[in-house]
């Protein structure tokens, strides 16, 4: 029995056939334009108000389009981009340290373990500098030096200082910049904002995306919104694992429903696990909190050398500690890439050497750094993170080492898009974390903010013009058969959920799914484990639809119903994620298959057979369409950090 069918490969991603550095200019030049006077006649739906959606909505409205924008939160300022801590990369070379567009491009392709598209990544690097200009013009208060110029720092996987930051709250500050730009357009009447409204389906008419069906989360009303194009900026699907660093409301419903309406889903198994998160403290845990990667600059990671050592960490002498990253990877030490550090932590915990509740933690120790530089220096560098850690754990990291453990943080996979960020459904564009395009199998630190804003401020506004200017779009009646059909399906699904009246809460299903995925499709994956999870999912899904209990009704604010809608989709997406992980018989980036490792336990990539994007078409059995990746500029090498 096979899990999937194989379809035609994807031959053309629409990147112009000119030299790499000219492609974006060429695309912008050949793109059709829409006369400014005609733009206001076009309605464009944008779902999501994070960095990608907020910046896109504001920019499209500035261009003159009529934007209809949605977020499930009560305000656009709350989208989860707000929680990004570290910084944003840009090839400004203000440090004169040898940075360039080409170097940022090179680092990103290599960091992605050679599973991203050169064309897209090069463009990302090209527009990165403009993002910083734009944010500064909006009044984003980046960190500055005494001379009044912008400060930068370095981040994992690179040797230049190209990361701009605003203390540990860079995401918040950039998001507020985009939110304010969006607010200006709302005030001007160019953006019609629908907060507390969640997209539940996509309306496709004559093969083109023409609108969405959404639920007003306050009144429960089901509404259809029609438009000439739909932009999804709805983030990643990390919450399929239940416990993650995502916000509680982050969900995959918009992209999953779009997938079921014809949009291919690419590389779902490329998920990123962040090595430095605060471990769970008990069964009640509702989410996990990240501690910035920057801590690994000064903290040393270790576990006791012998199993069952219950002494407090301060009392364990130096020679009874195993600084395993420094031992295994002497040249990179504690600063190995995220995937490597995460897997190493798992290995020592699996070997029974973990610390803290359930043995699921390792120490991140600042004692040496405090001794070397003094406490004030450490306070200045990491004060807010230490405070946050202390608030959550009630332990003082200045006196006792932090305990950390890896957690799901970001998803590189997402809806497949071409060079124009258009999905396989014409008129449906996907931006930010919701698409798959730029990070390959592993995202570098400080690159998510860059990609979200690149897509929203600069890329989409140029390519959407081409679609709207070059496509004949007849008006769709709100009573069109297809509109009625989708609306009816949405209503029926809600009634069905509410009518189950079973015995188990939505959360209990979500937790069970999350644990299953984490155990078998988390940091380390094997054929046997993936198969086991795949065998369990259909049963769990059936049980959900047979036994879920959702109190309350449809015509009111009903948070359990909101969750149920999302979990129902996670239960479907999980299966595709597992199938993709099973089909990718290699280890690369965040995807580690136990069958494919070197004698030293390192990831073994298989460029001969798997140098492709796996784009999945929805069907009774998913259909795999391969997009072959070619590397003309950055030649794939096996990563080595020893």
């Amino acid at each position: 029995m096979t899990d999937y069918l194989t379809g035609d490969p994807i031959a053309d991603t629409k990147a112009p056939a000119v030299p790499l550095e000219n492609r974006w200019d060429e695309r912008k030049f050949t793109a059709k334009l829409v006369n400014p006077a005609n733009r206001r006649k076009h309605r464009v739906i944008v779902v999501g108000t994070g960095l990608a959606g907020g910046s896109a909505g504001a920019t499209l409205a500035e261009q003159g389009y009529h934007v209809v924008q949605f977020c499930f939160q009560d305000s656009p300022r709350r989208a989860h981009s707000v929680a990004a801590q570290g910084g944003i990369n840009a090839a400004k070379n203000y440090r004169n340290d040898g940075d360039s567009v080409y170097r940022l491009f090179y680092d990103t392709v290599k960091g992605g373990d050679f599973r991203s598209r050169e064309s897209n990544v090069y463009r990302l690097a090209q527009v990165s500098a403009q993002i910083i200009d734009q944010a500064v013009a909006q009044g984003v208060p980046f960190a500055r030096e005494y001379g009044g110029l912008l400060d930068t720092r370095s981040f994992g996987g690179v040797q230049v200082q190209r990361t701009f930051y605003a203390r540990g709250q860079t995401g918040q500050q950039l998001l507020i910049g985009a939110y304010q730009a969006l607010s200006r357009q709302i005030d001007a009447g160019n953006v019609e904002l629908h907060p507390r409204t969640e997209m539940l389906d996509l309306v496709v008419v004559d093969g083109r995306a023409r609108g969405i069906v959404a639920r007003d989360l306050v009144t429960g009303e089901i509404e259809t919104h029609l438009a000439d194009a739909v932009v999804l900026a709805t983030g990643g699907y990390g919450n399929v694992f239940y416990l993650s660093t995502n916000a509680k409301g982050s969900n995959a419903t918009a992209i999953w429903r779009a997938h079921k309406r014809g949009a291919y889903f690419a590389n779902p198994c490329f998920t990123q696990i962040h090595p430095t998160c605060i471990p769970r403290s008990g069964e009640h845990q509702s989410k996990l909190t990240l501690m910035s990667e920057s801590l690994r600059n000064d903290g040393r990671i270790w576990v006791p050398k012998v199993k069952g050592d219950t002494r407090p960490p301060e009392e364990i002498p130096e020679d009874e500690r195993d600084y395993y990253l420094e031992r295994l990877y002497p040249s990179f030490g504690n600063l190995v890439p995220r995937d490597i550090a995460s897997r190493a932590a798992k290995n020592v915990c699996d070997a029974g050497l973990g610390v803290g509740p359930g043995g699921l933690g390792v120490y991140l120790d600042f004692a040496d750094a405090i001794e070397r530089m003094g406490r004030p220096a450490i306070e200045a560098r990491y004060g807010n993170l230490f405070d946050m850690y202390q608030r959550i754990t009630a332990e003082d990291p200045y006196r006792t080492p932090m305990r950390i453990y890896p957690a799901i943080h970001y998803t590189m996979g997402g809806l497949w898009v071409d060079y124009d960020l258009q999905s396989t459904v014409p008129g449906l564009f996907v931006i930010g974390e919701a698409n798959f395009s730029d990070h390959g199998a592993n995202r570098l630190g400080a690159s998510a903010l860059m990609q979200g804003l690149a897509d929203g401020y600069f890329v989409l506004p140029a390519t959407l013009n081409d679609y709207l200017g070059g496509t004949r779009l007849d008006e769709v009646s709100p009573r069109h058969d297809e509109v009625t059909r989708v609306e009816t399906e949405v209503r029926e699904r809600i009634s069905r959920l509410l009518s189950v009246r079973g015995t188990r809460s939505v959360d209990s299903f979500h937790r069970e799914l999350g644990l299953l995925m984490w155990d078998h499709c988390g940091m380390s994956r094997s054929r046997e484990g993936l198969r086991k999870a795949l065998d369990r999912i259909p049963g769990l899904r059936a049980e959900f639809w047979r036994d879920v209990r959702i109190p309350g009704g449809a015509a009111e604010l009903n948070q359990e119903l909101e969750k149920a809608n999302r979990v129902a989709d996670f239960l479907e997406l999980a299966e595709l994620l597992l199938i993709d992980a099973l089909a990718r018989e290699e280890s690369c980036g965040g995807h580690f298959r136990e069958e494919h490792q070197t004698a030293d336990g390192e990831a073994r990539r298989d460029d001969e057979h798997f140098s492709y994007v796996a784009a999945w078409e929805y069907g009774e059995k998913p259909v795999l369409h391969r997009e072959d990746l070619s590397f003309e500029h950055v030649h794939p090498t096996q990563r080595s950090y020893t």
């Binding site: 009044g139 009640h284 604010l557």
Partner: protein, 248 residues
């Protein structure tokens, strides 16, 4: 540990609400306050009752979604958001009152959920710099003195949770408005619209039904992000200057 929580239950904006008492057992001091509400809700669902509605999202203290009045204090006894408050701040057996933000500008939607869209409208009235995409000069074209940038940042850290309004005896949104006005008027990029911004934001703040400021300082005491009291003085100064200049 065990707590007794008395929670404000209100089915909808037009219905009357009341405090309902619930015992919650099997709690751990390491739980966050919202995780305690999760535990309660799971029990309510199991018993066939309606769970308590409350806003929350990131649970890291940065999105500003959550916020309840705990024993009469916005966000409770610690200076943090409700999601970052942990049960170790309470004692076994405590009785804890949980209510929604209460202010004329924040009508209750359901239980602990209120409508804070008025804060968005204050920002829409002028809390921005007009810098359309593509129009920006190089980021280093205008250096900004570090002390100005740092103070602008301190004000820009506002998460828009609304605790300042809930804590204020007048239901005033002065601290919220002051934070944005101060952030943008400190930076060179914010100068061209400086006068009009403060006039429009204050007008909207008044029109939305928020009260006036009587320098009580409850807002500052409840602000999880430490927005400085001095920002209110700076808002008053900006407003006076702009009014005199005859704009608006």
């Amino acid at each position: 540990m065990k707590l007794t929580v008395r929670i404000w239950r209100q089915a909808g904006p037009a219905t009357e609400g009341r405090l309902v008492s619930y015992p919650v057992d099997d709690l751990s001091p390491d739980m966050s306050f919202l995780e305690m509400l999760d535990v309660l809700n799971q029990e309510l669902i199991a018993n066939g009752e309606e769970p308590v509605a409350f806003d929350h999202d990131c649970r890291e203290g940065i999105c500003g979604s959550c916020g309840v009045v705990i024993n009469g204090q916005a966000h409770g006894p610690e200076r943090t958001t409700s999601c970052q408050l942990h049960l170790r701040s309470f004692s076994d057996g405590d009785v804890v009152d949980v209510e929604p933000w209460r202010a004329k500008g924040f009508p209750v939607i359901k239980d602990l959920v209120v409508d804070r869209s008025a804060l968005d409208r204050i920002v829409q009235a002028g809390g921005y710099v007009s810098a359309p995409t593509g129009s920006a000069p190089d980021a280093h074209a205008t250096p900004v003195p570090k002390p100005d940038a740092d103070l602008a940042f301190d004000n820009a850290t506002c998460i828009g949770c609304g605790a300042c309004v809930a804590a204020c005896p007048n239901g005033s949104a002065m601290l919220f408005t002051a934070a944005k006005v101060t952030h943008l008027s400190l930076l060179p990029q914010g100068q061209p619209e400086r006068a009009q911004r403060v006039l429009d934001m204050v007008d909207t703040m008044d029109a939305e039904g928020f009260g006036g400021c009587t320098n009580t300082g409850e807002c500052v005491a409840s602000c999880p992000k430490g927005i400085p009291f001095a920002s209110i003085a700076s808002l008053n100064r900006e407003f006076r200057k702009a009014s005199r200049s005859g704009r608006g």
